[in-house]
Symmetry: C2
């Protein structure tokens, strides 16, 4: 019995890999958050849908598992990559008592890569990916990681920078980075990556601290060598003689 | 004048996005490292090739820029993502004096995501990506970042863990992590991701320290909560009640 966990990338069908499209074609049941199912609606004709809300991930994965056990070929979809804050880990957890279920994870383009491409090339050297959501990770752990990223002069990509209830996490994160990083450090925001209404903005770390963002935004923070080249955010890798 | 920088993902056409395939179709000239051009040979019929060796990135990007200036529609391809240790940053650098060139970066699946999917879901929570190659980054900077990643309890994905000349970098990296991380920490290796002969291996951090790898290998190092679930490497995100 086969269960796919598929990363669909940031937007619609155009941002999926051929491998992901072909796996989805083989499924008769698809589980996902409603917004993400809508993004690939054209690929879901005639398929049963398991649709749950944003914070009902465990229910969704359990329902997908049970559908697979009942004989369906099931895809669980994540936006972006299936692994990076996606459903792949949780599927292994909920399926661990059912060795008859074969799980195949199909990767997708995560926001660090898709948003980076919109801005230029901010993550061309070593980087950290950190989620600012403390729903599943204690805020103290997040702060520890931000301090570590600052110490290591890592470029940063921040997922889930804010929600309706968490409005000051990005400001706190910037304050941690500002303890060691120049307020003029180039940064960028991308909203609705790969979707209708995609927008981006370049700004300094000092400006980012006082900027409001929402949960549809991905944040990029440069390191000590990140620069703006022809209006794009670029972290040079260090090729000499350019 | 249009210049695409395209991430082709880890393997062949199957791992590319539809967007990447369509952009490539519009190009009459394609620049890339020979191995990567070969991976997508079926898409390159009738196109001019700019092919240079592994360490000739500046020459390759300059030649691509000049071909675009001469009227060609050019794609520069990177394996994986175009941004993550890819050619996008360098293209912005070599094109900065030529504002008539419009650069579009098309993201691809980077090895952190494609290799993670092979192993399970090792990067489902916050993680760092670090290259162990000191060709372009001083080794002291790499060591500083490894220390920082260890302090932050980040999962790690290591690119370029070794080459013929650099045989002890992975051992040194493991020794840094072992100053704070349990030698039993689950880790994984994936070689030839998405290509013929793809293999993977799960092992502990202590075992990884004494393992030889090559430049076709991507290394994954778990954090304090990473575990083996049903033979797969998984970092739980922290959903409760599973």
């Amino acid at each position: 019995m086969k269960l796919y966990v598929i990363g669909i990338g940031p937007g619609g069908e155009n941002e999926m890999t051929l491998r992901a499209v072909r796996a989805l074609e083989q499924c008769d049941c698809v589980a996902g958050y409603g917004l993400y199912l809508d993004l690939i609606d054209g690929l879901l004709d005639g398929k049963e849908r398991i649709q749950t809300g944003m914070t009902r991930e465990v229910d969704r994965c359990t329902a997908a598992r049970d559908a697979a056990r009942a004989g369906h070929t099931v895809a669980v979809i994540s936006s972006g990559d299936a692994g990076v804050y996606g459903m792949a880990g949780l599927m292994f957890e909920v399926c661990q008592e059912y060795p008859e279920l074969e799980i195949e994870v199909i990767p997708g383009i995560t926001a660090a890569c898709s948003g980076g491409a919109v801005l230029g090339a901010p993550l061309t050297n070593d980087f950290c990916v950190v989620s600012l959501s403390n729903l599943l990770t204690p805020w103290e752990t997040i702060e520890k990681r931000l301090h570590a990223a600052a110490q290591g002069d890592f470029c940063l990509c921040l997922y889930n920078p804010a929600s309706k209830k968490r409005t000051d996490h990005l400001q706190k994160a910037c304050d941690i980075l500002l303890t060691v990083r120049d307020p003029k450090t180039p940064c960028g925001l991308v909203r609705n990556i790969g979707r209708e209404g995609e927008t981006y903005q370049l700004l300094t770390l000092g400006e980012l601290r006082d900027t409001s963002v929402d949960m549809l935004t991905t944040v990029f923070i440069g390191n000590s060598v990140t620069e703006i080249i022809s209006g794009r955010l670029v972290t040079p890798r260090g090729y000499r003689g350019v």
